[in-house]
């Protein structure tokens, strides 16, 4: 009983902490990794709430695929920045 309360309490604290860190992180990559970790801990919380179906969906879609999509979007953003910088550099060279 005490063990369960302790585990649930740690889950709740870890969730709040991860959510806070993910929102406050200035670095986008760190924020995404924290978001993925949040999704995995959330899946554990769903298991504790006896909702294994939701836990499976949360781990696969919430943490895994959304994380992958966010990372892909971040890579595209970085590519965009690089391209803009490159084109500026090319312009400068032409001149």
């Amino acid at each position: 009983m005490i063990l369960q309360w302790g585990f649930d309490g740690m889950l709740a604290i870890a969730l709040l902490l991860l959510a806070w860190r993910a929102l406050r992180s200035p670095d986008l990559f760190t924020a995404i990794v924290l978001f993925i970790a949040f999704g995995l801990v959330m899946a554990l919380a769903w298991v504790r709430l006896q909702a294994p179906d939701v836990a499976l969906a949360e781990a696969a879609i919430g943490a895994g695929l959304t994380g992958a999509l966010l990372l892909a979007a971040l890579a595209r953003l970085n590519d965009l920045d690089d391209n803009i910088n490159d084109s500026h550099a090319v312009d400068a060279e032409k001149k």
Binding site: D53, L56, A60, I61, L65, A68, A72, D79
Partner: protein, 229 residues
């Protein structure tokens, strides 16, 4: 003087924000605390209708039978999301960098296992936690691994076969619904004897579509089948 005014107004703004947050927290706490101890819910209704649903897992019964509309619309939403992404532009030009030996070995070993896993999740969804969305997302993960190790669909599969796989889930769902509508007059009202088979058919089609759609979302643009590749 004006600087002091500014400081004062920003302080007031902070207090207003704090009050708003406290009001929100109080409202949420009241809502949680005023929940009835024992919610009535729809448990009994679901349990008493399980025999006619064609599956043994109550979650699958609700998602695919009792509330089939919701899942049908979810499939539609997923397809519309992909159409939105595709309408933004073409996918970034494919860089032909082969994966390293470790990633290549891992992908060769993992992808068949993931396809098998997706099939298992789809099949087990009839009796235990699992189902089309979980199976589809595992399939999508396999697709993302392939994309990451810079494997692409052969050009001849790029246009119509890809689009067919994308709309297959929604198409199968609507086709079953319309067929039932013309036979029994009720949309998505499965006859109890056929329910299990129909659900498996819809879920299999939906799994493929979900997997391909999510992987295509990861690609982040309309795949170009032109000679530029």
């Amino acid at each position: 003087m004006s600087a002091a005014d500014h400081k004062w107004s920003s302080l007031a703004l902070r207090w207003v924000r704090l009050l708003l947050l406290l009001a929100l927290a109080g409202g949420l706490a009241y809502a949680v605390l005023s929940l009835p101890d024992q919610a009535i819910g729809l448990n009994d209704q679901v349990r008493s209708n399980m025999e006619t649903s064609g599956v043994h897992n109550p979650v699958t019964a609700v998602l695919l039978n009792f509330r089939g509309y919701d899942t049908l619309l979810e499939m539609g939403v997923l397809l519309v999301a992909l159409l939105g992404v595709w309408s933004l532009g073409a996918a970034a030009a494919h860089r032909r960098v082969g994966p390293g030996p470790v990633l290549s070995f891992l992908v060769d070993g993992l992808v068949p296992m993931m396809i098998l896993m997706a099939g298992y999740l789809l099949w087990v969804g009839a009796a235990a936690p699992g189902g089309a969305f979980q199976a589809g997302s595992v399939l999508a993960a396999a697709g993302i691994l392939l994309l990451l190790s810079s494997k692409r669909l052969p050009v001849r599969l790029m246009r119509w076969p890809l689009r067919f796989a994308l709309v297959l889930g929604l198409g199968a769902f609507v086709a079953v619904g319309v067929t039932l509508l013309s036979v029994s007059g009720l949309f998505l009202q499965y006859p109890p004897g056929l329910a299990g088979g129909l659900i498996l058919f819809i879920e299999a089609a939906a799994t493929l579509s979900i997997g391909v759609t999510l992987a295509a979302l990861f690609l982040g643009g309309r795949p170009e089948a032109g000679p530029r590749r």
